[in-house]
Symmetry: C2
């Protein structure tokens, strides 16, 4: 069924807005101490596909111990300064993780489930890559 999502945003009188979810969560966008809206777009994408991929891997009983993502977007020079390319890097940590399961989970999210990805790919080319570590010692992407 179709359904509506709704948020509110309130100006602080200077250079920031406070975003408010239906559940009452708050987050600041703008200067001097908030997220930039275009950063927040990448965070929305990371959350969307990350939540998909981690939950699919858990359902597949993959031994996932840690997971981290880095998402980069290339803003074009002309207005509006949209991202023309987006790179999603996944890092998975766990002994015995199956690369085939990981590739399947990423594909399911990016091609079928992730709504944020489904919207952004209309404007930008999205590329993804992943790496697997068996130990959590160096979980740096």
């Amino acid at each position: 069924m179709e359904d509506w999502r709704e948020i509110e945003a309130v100006w602080d009188g200077e250079k920031a807005f406070e975003g408010r979810s239906q559940a009452g969560l708050k987050v600041t966008l703008g200067a001097p101490e908030g997220f930039s809206p275009m950063e927040m777009l990448l965070i929305s994408l990371a959350g969307c596909t990350g939540l998909d991929v981690s939950s699919i891997l858990v359902k597949m009983r993959q031994p996932l111990k840690e997971m981290k993502m880095r998402v980069r977007g290339l803003r074009r020079e002309e207005h509006p300064r949209i991202y023309t390319q987006i790179e999603v890097e996944y890092l998975f940590v766990g002994a015995g993780l199956d690369p085939k399961a990981i590739e399947q989970a990423i594909a399911l999210s990016e091609e079928r489930y992730c709504s944020v990805s489904g919207m952004l790919r209309e404007a930008a080319a999205i590329h993804s890559s992943y790496s697997i570590q068996t130990e959590s010692a160096a979980t740096v992407l």
Copy 2:
């Protein structure tokens, strides 16, 4: 000049991710107490166009005292559950605000400056509307 934006996201081991900006700001997405990624997409849009519109009105020396937005998105039924329609409502509070200046500011943001809007409109029809109040007594949209 083109430039890259980058964020990170770290899995909490259950059903949430922590998004991290380059400046070190943090925000939680997922269950049980985070923003949903599709909500965050609407907050990104509100922040983007809200920051544009408020700063343009200030530059135009419009007597803007308060500003609030409500953004709604209609998710389609099939996967990926993208928004097919997005409605942006602006509420401006101030005595002597000029509707022509407001319409010009909204148009400049939506057509030229707002990068989030520039991306999302490739996937969804975005409609906007506004109202003006002279008093802040009832700043409810």
